[in-house]
Symmetry: C2
Subunit: 193 residues, 2 copies
Amino acid sequence: MNYPNGIKKDNKNRQITNNISHKNRGMTLEADLNITNEYYREIDKAYIYKKPTPIKITKVDYPSRDKTVIKEAFFTIPSTTDYNGLYKGKYIDFEAKETASKTAFALDNIHPHQINHINNINRHNGIAFLIIRFTTRNETYLVMAKDFLEFLEKNDRKSIPINFFKEKAYLIKDGYPARIDYLKLIDEVIGGI
Amino acid sequence: MNYPNGIKKDNKNRQITNNISHKNRGMTLEADLNITNEYYREIDKAYIYKKPTPIKITKVDYPSRDKTVIKEAFFTIPSTTDYNGLYKGKYIDFEAKETASKTAFALDNIHPHQINHINNINRHNGIAFLIIRFTTRNETYLVMAKDFLEFLEKNDRKSIPINFFKEKAYLIKDGYPARIDYLKLIDEVIGGI
């Protein structure tokens, strides 16, 4: 079993290796979430996918009858969050972001219409949240939309300090085979869903 | 005021031109659904979006510090349906397709993993369906996942005949301002959601 920080312990809770943290740190949050969502599908637990990156295609080429090559396209600003899907009949929706800062999560990481979207989902009884990883702290937090929106309402800041996460968010432990087992936390937070 | 598709109405909401059906025929199902979903968001009824087209990016250029141009990319096969979102706390998921055939909907229009996805969503109590437009008949049907999957199970055909739609599916009338008011049908089919 993998513990946070790459510490492996045996069944008496003694540390037995120390080389996992390198591997974990090397993986992006996106890769961890892909593996986790794939695992959820494999065990028929939830069907949650990352949306494709929105782009605007401006030039297309047809080198042969059944082949299409995009020759020019641009990334566009997403109007929703990156991940959504279905868990126990419920609509799940979240955004995932990494920051290298040790002290705060800068709010310009999230577009205003994404915040608007999170608010809409929350108001309509979807399960909305954010997963924020502080890479240099090696800590990944789940913040419920309600708490995130409350912070924005009460504060006129450009970033959310780490203390907010420590107080209001939920630390997600590295796991296996679900590397970022966020649905376990959702179960605990929401109660009997 | 300009209405979608150039339909003009007077202040009693009476249509003052008569060219709707022609124009309706000219609009793609995707355009009609975009207008409908936008309208649902405007009136705060539902938050349902078309997913971006999945592509694989193979070449990227950075002409300046804050600009990224995709120089080569390919369309990839989608693993889910095109539309999903939230309605009254429920997970909504559907695929939309047009066919020019007058007599049947060819099943090779839908990828096997999309069918698999529809099955997964249906089993997990999401509201899953298909919206199929027969363009030359000028008819748009909503088929619930349950009925669609039952057809596939019982039949070894490469297409679904129009009679199946007439018997098991729901004809969606052209409307305004929700052009394809599929949630109205969902309310009727599901009952008190």
